[in-house]
Every structure is written in C-alpha cells, then in structure tokens.
C-alpha cells in the first residue's frame, strides 16, 4: 500500500512539475539593445520621450539610450564597431554615410536577412529622395528620420520699435535691406547670418548665399577638384563679410544666439533646434523662410537617419528583430520628434498627426520649414569620404575673411588650394 501511495505521489509531483515548468519556459526573454544618438538638446529629450513610450509598450525589449556626444559621435561609432561592442541602433547624418558606410550593416543584406522587410518598414512612407539618400554602392544603409535646416528667426518687438510690420518679415533682398537698416537705426543688432559665429556656421551662411546665387556645386561631380572659387562664391563671401563689417548689421565674433535671447538682435539665421531656446527666452519671436536674396531662396539643411552599426558575428536574430522594431517605432512616432525636437519628420504619416499639426512648434515655425523642404529648397552638405576635412578647409578661410584677416578672394583661393590638396590624397 505504501508503495502504491509513493507511486501516486510521485506521479502527482511529476505532473505538477510538468505543468509549472513549461509555463516558466514560456516567460518571454528580455532582449537588451543599445541605441546611441548624437542628440544633446531638445531633440535628445524628444528621443527619450519616444524610447520611453517604446519601453512601455514593449516590455520584452530593454533599450539603453545613450545620447549627447555630438563631437565624438562618429569616432565612437567606428571604434565601438572595431572593438566589437557596437550599439544596435544608431544615427547617421545622410552626408556622413560615405564616411562611415564600412561600419554599418547593409540593411537588405544583413546576416539574418533583409532588415527592412523584417522591420516592416515601407520605403513608400518616405519621400523618394530622402529614402534613396541612404543608398551607397548598391546597398541600403539608412532609414530616414528627419530633415532639418535653417530659417529666419526675428524679434517682433524690435520690428515694432523699428517701425516695421511684425507680421511681415522680409522675404526679398530689398525688403531685407530696408528691415535691417531700420533695425540698425533703432539701436539694435540688425542681423546675424550664422547662429553663434562658429566657423562651420559661417560656412553654412556662405553656402546659402552661394546656392541662392546659382553658384553651382562646391565640387565637380567626381570630387576631383573644388569648383566654388567662382564669381558667385566670391560675391557670396563678400556679402557675408559685408554683413559684419561694411553694413554694420552685426559685429565680428558676435554670438547670434546670445544676442537674440538677450533681446538685442532683430533677425537671426538659425536651425529648427533654436525653437525651445527662443520659446523659453521671453523674446516675442517670429519665424520665416530664408528670404530670397539672390534668385532661389535656398537654405542649409541636413537629414538624420537611423542606422544599424555592424554587429559582431553570431548576433542573435532576435536582437536584429528587436532593433528593427525600435527603428520602426521611432519613425512611426516621429511626430513627437518633430513636435518636441524640431526636426521635420521624414515619415509621411507622422507628418499628418493631428497633435503635431495643432502644436505650437508646427503653427509658429515648423510648417514653414516643412514648406522649404517640400519645395526642394534645403541644400544638404557635401558628400565625400573626406567631407569633414574639406568643410574644415573652407570654413577656416571663410572665418578669416569675415574677421578681416584676409580678403574674400584670398580666402577662396586658399580654401580651393587646400581642398584640391585633400582631394588629391594630401
């Protein structure tokens, strides 16, 4: 009898364990992925908001979001791939693709298959040109997140004090000169064309004038030589130099951000990321498209895109799957990205989100930047493996010209020579 009882109890125990054990095994495994970005201001907060939302709705995917290292971002991205510890998801400026493509996963040819398909991402949801910007040498590396760019920020109170209509910002050269001179006469800094006057900002301002004048491309098609040292390049630089020197619209070395937020500057060229600063500054500000100074009202801009850095061999398909789920979530929720971060979402559906369209950012400035983008007026930076060096060669000379150390002609000649040396492998 005792034997039978023992047998029965044993069977019961096995059954109980049999019921409990499978239910334990089906507990979903938490997949950890790292998402590195270079965002560091309002856009960093916006990305955090999106990732928090993702974490709430995807308890089986744990995302570690690392942000804020703009200057070292691309170096860290490359070094992390070399070290075998890359983040699973990253950001890439579209013009940087050619510099870092060796360190990114070709999305359609990953070790686990076509990641675009796995993530359920549809190319038709994005403008064709923005999607194609992620292609290089027959592979597709990037998923569009946004387009960002510069616009005209102006102080409505200063406009009123200068006798100008605060609701009619200048949009032509003659209107602009009239407004700038009136603001100057009222005792304010009239115009700053380059945010905080850092060399790369001065170069962007020069590029705007250069493209508006129809100066063509900065380099020839095959990037064999610089082509910016022409009449338009010189006129554009002369105009930039005159703004700080002859016109008296600002002073050399002046920081446009500080001047604007202190209520001392009438008009400022700055990116969409200036929105939270302007909003919180207490300045009664307005926003307009970049005026048409010289023919076509081009502005400077770029595009952030999502990328999957090269993963170490043997990375599990579940990790790729989770990464692409996050990527899709980010682009599908990029209305938050636009609303809080200021960059214009690349995803068409996100741009139609009612909360975005009713938001303060969109109604006061975002829709105008979007119009410039849709009209094809945003000119992207140069696209070359040594692009950073080429840009540095140009901007240092432009800065010297603006500061009055060399003439615009000397600046362009020196920049051209240095760029050609770099292009020839120097």
């Amino acid at each position: 009898m005792r034997r039978i009882l023992t047998l029965v109890m044993g069977v019961v125990l096995v059954l109980v364990l049999g019921i409990v054990a499978p239910s334990g095994a089906t507990t979903p495994e938490v997949i950890k992925i790292e998402f590195n970005t270079l965002f560091h201001e309002a856009d960093a907060k916006a990305m955090e908001e999106i990732v928090t939302l993702f974490s709430q709705t995807h308890p089986n995917i744990q995302v570690e979001l690392v942000q804020g290292r703009w200057a070292q971002y691309y170096a860290e991205l490359r070094l992390s791939v070399i070290a075998g510890t890359p983040p699973q998801l990253g950001i890439c400026h579209v013009n940087k693709l050619v510099e870092v493509a060796d360190y990114l996963t070709a999305l359609e040819a990953s070790p686990v298959g076509d990641l675009i398909e796995i993530g359920g991402i549809n190319a038709a949801d994005f403008p064709e040109a923005t999607w194609k910007a992620g292609e290089l040498r027959g592979h597709h590396y990037l998923i569009p997140l946004d387009t960002h760019g510069w616009g005209l920020w102006y102080n409505k109170d200063i406009f009123a004090a200068a006798g100008l209509d605060p609701e009619r910002p200048p949009q032509t050269m003659s209107e602009f000169i009239k407004a700038a001179e009136a603001i100057k006469a009222a005792g304010y800094y009239a115009f700053h064309p380059a945010e905080d006057s850092l060399p790369r900002k001065l170069r962007r301002a020069w590029e705007i004038f250069f493209y508006q004048m129809g100066g063509g491309s900065l380099f020839d098609e095959g990037y064999t030589k610089a082509t910016f040292n022409n009449l338009e390049g010189l006129s554009a630089l002369q105009f930039l130099v005159d703004i700080f020197n002859d016109f008296g619209w600002n002073t050399v070395g002046g920081n446009g951000y500080n001047q604007f937020t202190a209520g001392r500057l009438g008009m400022l060229f700055a990116g969409n990321w200036f929105y939270p600063t302007a909003r919180d500054s207490g300045v009664n500000w307005g926003y307009a498209k970049v005026p048409n100074f010289f023919g076509t009202p081009y502005t400077w801009g770029a595009s952030h895109q999502l990328s999957v850095p090269l993963q170490p061999a043997g990375t599990s398909p579940a990790v790729y799957q989770a990464t692409m789920e996050l990527a899709r979530f980010v682009v599908e929720h990029s209305h938050i990205w636009t609303m809080s971060g200021g960059h214009i979402a690349a995803n068409r559906t996100a741009l139609e989100d009612p909360t975005l369209l009713a938001s303060d950012y969109w109604t006061r400035s975002g829709h105008l930047l979007n119009e410039m983008i849709q009209e094809g007026l945003v000119k992207f930076p140069i696209n070359h493996p040594r692009g950073s060096e080429l840009e540095s060669a140009i901007e240092t000379k432009i800065e010297l010209a603006v500061n009055g150390q060399i003439t615009p002609a000397e600046a362009l000649a020196q920049a051209e020579a240095e760029c050609n040396r770099i292009l020839q492998g120097g």
Binding site: A75, V81, G253, N258, A262, T396, L400, N403, G426
Partner: protein, 300 residues
C-alpha cells in the same frame, strides 16, 4: 618553510627590490608603455581595420612634415608655450611671494591662499566656458571693463593676434595656483637667518630676491618649469572649447590637430605619427630640464 624563503631571498637579493616595484611596473607597462609603443607601431600604418591596414613605413611622417596645417599647429604649440609658461610661472611666483611676505605680518593669508588656489580645482571645461563668456564681445566682463575705461576692447577670441594670448591667460589663471603652492613650499625651506643677515648688511628686496630667493628656489622653479612646459605642450581642452582652433587655424595646437586627424577625420596613422612627434618634443624638453638646467644635480 620560513627559513627556506629567507634563504631563497638571501640568495636572490635583487629579487626583493623587483617585487617592490612590480605592481607599479605592471600598471606602468599596461597603461603607459604599451599604449605608447602601440601608438608608435600605428604611426607606421595606414590604419583601416575594416578594409585592412597597410604598412607604410615613414610615409605618415613624411606627409606630416609636408602638411602646412601640421606645421602651423606645431608653431602654435610653441607660441602658446612661449606665452603660457612664463605667465603661469610668473603669476605663481608673484602669488607665492605675496603670501610668503604677508605670512609673517598679516591675518587672512589662508583665505587668500585658498582663493588663489581655487581655480586649479576646476575642470578644464568650467574654466574654458567661464573665460569664453568673460571675453564675449557683447556681454563679456572683460569687454565691459574695457568699455568702462573708455578703451576700445579687442575681440579677444576672434582676432588671431589676441586669441592665443587670451587662452594662455585663462590657462595661467587656472594653473598658477598649483605652482604657487610649489613655490610656497620652496620659500618655506629657505633659512630665515639668510634674510636676517642680508638685512643687517643692508640688502633690499631686489637683492634678496636675486641672490637668496632665486638660487634657493631653483629646484622648485625647475620642477614647475618642466611640469608647466609639458602641460603647455599637451594643451587641448581650453583651445577646443574657447576657439575650436580658430580664428582660421590661428589657435590650432598640436593636441587639437591630433584629435581632429584621429577622431574627426579618422586618419589614425597620421594622428599617431603626430602623437609621436609630440612625445619626442616633450622628451627633449624634459631632458633639457634635467640635463641643461641642472635639475638632475638639484634632485641629487
């Protein structure tokens, strides 16, 4: 067992000393010698781990010395050291002398010492951001002070002639406090009797300074000189944050050039070569400090 160990150590008496330095030698080897050696090794390659690195011998060095930007950075580094080192040492010495002479007669010396030393406790980013604001052409305190004196203020950080001295001045403000402490220690070691005898003989401060203080302060001065020279040649953070090497490239020093070449342009081989050049310069300067200026004999 103990006697066996004792016997072993007795037979290998040199081993005991090696055991003492082993922990330091291991750390030094891992964190200094190996990275320096690897840096030299990298400088001989066109480094591209994704596409395969290529041995290029001295090509990176040849390219470097044919690169006007590198030569400009090298020149700027010497210029910066030429301005910053005397400023840092001079300010440190003046502070130390001031406190040393006050020490015997006035109260509150500790407070003044703390105030003068305080900047040294700040990080380079704090110092750079603070001084960038101080030199701001619109809202800076320095600009404001010039205006109050009805003197036209230079645009310090955007005029090539002023930018490097302005950064050197900010650096001196930052580092002089530590040199002050070194000099104070040196001054404290000078026997008071020498000053008393000199006073009896009618010596004035200038004579005491030239014939007593300076000769006896030589070890502290030389120590600080070598330390400050090395620090000046490695200058990076304040230049990056105050001017980014501008205007133009008038403040781009060697360490900033190295950083950009390596981490912005990702030309690691060339960056490593410029690092080796910087290392050689610092070695030479240190040797000059030790051999020619007599630090070795002073240390002995």
């Amino acid at each position: 067992m103990r006697s066996k160990i004792r016997g072993f150590l007795y037979r290998h008496r040199g081993l005991e000393g090696i055991m003492y330095v082993l922990p330091f030698a291991a750390l030094w080897g891992i964190f200094l010698a190996w990275p320096v050696g690897y840096g030299i090794y990298l400088s001989l390659f066109e480094w591209s781990p994704m596409r395969g690195s290529r041995f290029v011998g001295l090509e990176n060095y040849i390219k470097l010395f044919g690169d006007a930007r590198f030569l400009n950075a090298l020149g700027n580094t010497f210029k910066f050291a030429g301005i910053a080192v005397p400023l840092i040492l001079g300010l440190g010495l003046v502070f130390a002398l001031m406190l040393w002479s006050w020490g015997r007669t006035r109260r509150g010396v500790g407070f003044v010492q703390a105030v003068l030393f305080f900047p040294y406790l700040l990080t380079v980013s704090t110092v750079a951001i603070t001084w960038k604001w101080m030199f701001d052409p619109d809202f800076g305190l320095v600009t404001h002070a010039f205006k109050a004196l009805k003197v036209p203020a230079p645009v310090f950080l955007t005029e090539p002639a002023w930018a490097l001295p302005a950064i050197a001045f900010a650096t001196a403000w930052w580092l002089a406090g530590y040199r002050m402490v070194v000099f104070q220690a040196g001054l404290g070691d000078i026997p008071q009797e020498l000053f008393e005898v000199a006073s009896i003989d009618g010596a004035r401060f200038r004579q005491k300074f030239l014939y007593i203080i300076l000769p006896l302060l030589k070890p502290a001065l030389l120590f600080s000189l070598v330390l400050t020279l090395i620090s000046a040649f490695r200058t990076f953070g304040q230049v990056l944050m105050m001017t980014e090497g501008g205007p133009g490239r008038s403040t781009e020093v060697l360490a900033l050039y190295l950083y950009r070449t390596g981490f912005e342009y990702f030309n690691i081989g060339k960056a490593a070569a410029s690092g080796v050049v910087l290392l050689v310069i610092m070695l030479i300067l240190t040797l000059i400090g030790v051999k020619l200026l007599g630090l070795k004999s002073e240390l002995e």
